[in-house]
């Protein structure tokens, strides 16, 4: 009679939820399970999903990252700015964008680990800084107001393309990155340290694991994810404006939490986050087909997240009580 772990129960709940949602929408709408719709959903998921890869790492260390979407927007704008105002080669621009992504992550890591600022507040602030930089870099017309410019480079535009079967490139990139991250989390030293740090920081540090190093690693991974997301976002939109990516952070955090990661750290993985991203997307797409408004979708997603968090809280309390009681009953029996 071994107790089921919180992870296992959460995995079952999220899988069941996903299947139920898909079933409901399949049977109640005509177009939900069409190949086109699936391909579109997987493309939309991919952007949230790529940002969520970085966020999952941060949340497992017991942290958070509110800046992922803003970093993506900033990197898009770095590209647009250099493309518009300079004559640098495409390779050079992409390398600068990659650098921007890694530096944005390292900056988050610096604020969180060396300055010891709480992750939530730290990345809220760095997110604002990234957004500010986006505005500074924005392309302006002769009167000084912000305009958006079409990016006509065929290489970049091709990133928005798809295979002959209708699956978009970005979807495949998302899946591959998810698998790699899962491998890193579960099979490497650094992955074990990420869990250890989030689950019991003191004990991890006493085992010789550096808090600064682990935080740096997860935030730089997140910065890299923002870079990849930004390149495909440009390919898809063919342009960018100052709000590009801004909504992605919260969607990605929601997906991560629905997938089983907890803010106190130590729990969660990429399979869970992957399921979480799909649940969010299926929900959004499905209710759209019912003609529900954005407001209504938003409320439904919010309720689901609250329910998941309530489950976490009650589950932990319940398990603790059960353990104490079991011990008491065992003691009673011994007494007799």
């Amino acid at each position: 009679m071994k107790q089921m772990r919180q992870e296992t129960i959460r995995r079952i709940i999220s899988l069941v939820l996903l299947v139920v949602l898909i079933a409901i929408f399949t049977f109640t709408t005509d177009t939900f399970l069409s190949w086109d719709n699936i391909a579109t959903m997987l493309r939309e998921s991919a952007f949230v999903g790529i940002i969520a890869i970085g966020i999952t790492g941060c949340i497992i260390t017991g942290g958070n990252n509110l800046s992922g979407g803003y970093a993506l927007g900033m990197i898009c704008m770095v590209f647009a700015h250099l493309y518009h105002y300079t004559s640098l080669s495409l390779i050079a621009i992409i390398l600068i964008c990659l650098l921007a992504g890694l530096v944005s992550g390292a900056f988050n890591g610096f604020v969180v680990s060396i300055l010891q600022i709480n992750d939530f507040v730290a990345t809220l602030s760095t997110g604002m800084i990234f957004q500010g930089i986006t505005y500074i870099l924005a392309i302006r017309n002769q009167y000084g107001s912000i305009t958006s410019e079409m990016i006509k480079n065929p290489t970049i535009l091709s990133l928005g393309g798809k295979f002959s079967n209708g699956i978009f490139y970005v979807t495949i990139v998302w899946l591959v990155m998810t698998l790699i991250m899962q491998l890193v989390l579960k099979k490497t030293k650094i992955g074990t340290y990420i869990y250890a740090m989030g689950s019991n920081r003191k004990s991890a540090e006493y085992s010789g694991i550096s808090f600064i190093k682990i935080k740096m690693v997860v935030f730089i991974i997140a910065g890299f994810c923002s870079f990849v997301g930004a390149m495909f976002m440009l390919g898809r939109l063919g342009t960018c404006d100052v709000d590009t990516g801004a909504a992605l952070s919260l969607q990605a955090i929601s997906a991560t939490v629905i997938g089983g990661a907890v803010f106190s750290g130590g729990r969660g993985d990429m399979i869970g986050t992957f399921i979480g991203v799909l649940i969010m997307q299926v929900l959004r797409n499905g209710v759209l087909k019912y003609g529900l408004t954005t407001a209504q979708q938003s409320i439904i997603s919010g309720i689901i997240i609250v329910l998941m968090l309530v489950f976490d809280a009650y589950y932990n309390e319940y398990m603790q009580k059960r353990t104490t009681r079991a011990a008491a009953i065992a003691r009673e029996k011994e007494g007799k």
Partner: protein
């Protein structure tokens, strides 16, 4: 047989001084190879200071430490680990979401190019587990294990680093008796395999059964070293307390038999915390619940206040049964001085006045508005009643000394009309002068007719303020002392379960 074993570890003339106080005064302590050596002493005798020196948490101010005959310096946890010294922490230091083998090898993974070779790790740890025959599997996730199993993982972690000297600090505090038996078996196995163990426990019975030798500390000095063959329980307790004739409660006996009963609990039970607890507190009486930490005392008090639930039994207030909730308790005239004043007793950023007024807004607020002068009156009254220093009710409670913070907490209730006050460990971390003032306040409350129910582990304190004493052990009341028959020895032996088990045997 143990006499001819050679020494593994030796501390000579260890000194430690905290702000002019000799916490350790030329203490000698040694451990032989393959020996279980118990360290005994009352709270404040210097046990934990000594342990902190030998694990590198504190640096000694004088004396020498030898390992295998060579002098060593221990200035950090790493130094201690390198010397082969490991601690099994009271608060377990494992990573709950990782498996047993991941925990044991944390920071020392077997890996190629950063990739962990799971199979090699699992095999190495399973071999280690099998060698000692512990009932855990290498692949078990730590959070699914029982407390006892987690402790075994801690021990394995120490063994995996080739520790020669393992320190166990109150290892049975949260184990059931069957789990404790298993731990004792493991300790004996480790001893047979040549590992030395320093064993610290308040439970004298297990110390006497398990130890090859006992070193006793008192007031930071050596009070004696006893070989297993020479252990006489009452002598050991005398050495711990250090007085031939100890104080009794005689002077504190009060004729309370005709006073009316204010609070009564009947067969109160909360499974897993306490079991079948019954007692009554009369008007003007100080009843103290004592016993070891974890014996269920605090939980009983919290239940009576309405802060914790209970499964069965009855609580009567002025003869009428009540189902306590915190807000009802406050209206009924109950007050609580909680165990951890820093987290539960006061708001550090608010002034004494505001803290005191918090419990009285129902009295002074008129349709939600409060006059500052009413608040100030309460603050001044609290300062006066408790002799709070500095005598300024505008000071933030967080800026006061420990003793004055506790007075501020007392002030929250003294300014109300109290019928019952529940006090949990009122003088932990408070200097001696302030302790006495707090005892006076408690006595003052009792003489005004307030029923006082207090929890305390400090035996001198118990004898100082109690009219009656109940000793709790493992959730049950096992002994009652009335009318001045209690001595420090009586209480210590009863709380550690030694007397009780002797009688059974």
């Amino acid at each position: 047989m143990s006499e001819n074993k050679e020494l593994l570890f030796e501390m000579k003339n260890i000194e430690k001084i905290f702000s002019h106080v000799h916490a350790l005064d030329h203490v000698n302590f040694d451990v032989r190879k393959g020996e279980v050596h118990a360290l005994l002493g009352e709270n404040g005798a210097g046990k934990s200071t000594l342990i902190k020196i030998l694990t590198g948490v504190y640096t000694k101010d004088g004396g020498q430490i030898y390992m295998d005959g060579k002098e060593i310096e221990i200035n950090s946890r790493e130094d201690a680990a390198n010397a082969g010294i490991a601690v099994i922490f009271q608060e377990l230091s494992l990573i709950p979401t990782l498996s047993v083998y991941q925990n044991i090898l944390l920071g020392k993974e077997i890996s190629k190019f950063g990739f962990i070779s799971d199979s090699a790790e699992k095999k190495q740890i399973q071999d280690l587990i099998d060698h000692y025959g512990f009932p855990v599997k290498a692949t078990d996730i730590v959070e699914t294990l029982s407390v006892a199993q987690k402790q075994m993982v801690e021990i394995l972690k120490a063994l995996a680093t080739d520790a020669k000297l393992i320190i166990m600090d109150e290892p049975t505090a949260s184990l059931s008796s069957r789990e404790s038996e298993l731990l004792f078996k493991i300790i004996n196995q480790l001893r047979d395999k040549g590992v030395s163990i320093i064993y610290i426990s308040h439970r004298l019975e297990e110390v006497f059964n398990l130890s090859d030798r006992i070193t006793i500390l008192r007031d930071g000095k050596n009070a004696g070293v006893i070989e297993k063959e020479d252990i006489v329980p009452s002598e050991v307790v005398k050495m711990m307390i250090g007085k031939e004739v100890s104080e009794s409660t005689a002077s504190r006996t009060l004729k309370t038999s005709d006073a009316e009963t204010v609070l009564e609990v009947k067969h109160l039970t909360h499974l897993g915390y306490y079991d079948d607890v019954s007692f009554e507190v009369k008007k003007g009486e100080v009843l103290v619940l004592t016993g070891l930490v974890g014996s269920g005392r605090t939980e009983v008090v919290r239940t009576i206040y309405g802060a914790d639930p209970y499964d069965s039994g009855q609580i009567l207030f002025e003869g009428k049964p009540i189902k306590p909730t915190i807000s009802k308790s406050v209206t009924n005239g109950f007050g609580l001085i909680p165990e951890d004043r820093r987290t539960q007793g006061f708001s550090p950023l608010l002034s004494v006045t505001k803290n005191v007024a918090l419990t009285s807004y129902d009295k002074i607020a008129k349709s939600g508005f409060v006059k500052a002068s009413d608040e100030d009156k309460l603050g001044e009254k609290a300062v006066e009643l408790t002799d709070l220093r500095p005598a300024n009710p505008k000071v933030k409670v967080g800026d006061l000394s420990g003793g004055n913070q506790q007075k501020a907490v007392l002030g929250k209730w003294l300014t109300r009309d109290l019928k019952v006050i529940l006090i949990d460990e009122p003088t932990v971390g408070i200097d001696i002068g302030a302790k006495d003032e707090i005892y006076n306040i408690i006595e003052g409350l009792a003489s005004q007719g307030v029923a006082v129910l207090m929890v305390s582990s400090d035996i001198a304190e118990v004898l100082r303020v109690a009219h009656r004493i109940l000793v709790m052990r493992e959730g049950r009341v096992i002994k009652e002392f009335n009318d001045g028959v209690a001595t420090q020895e009586d209480i210590l032996l009863a709380s550690s379960g030694y007397v009780e088990n002797q009688e059974e045997a």
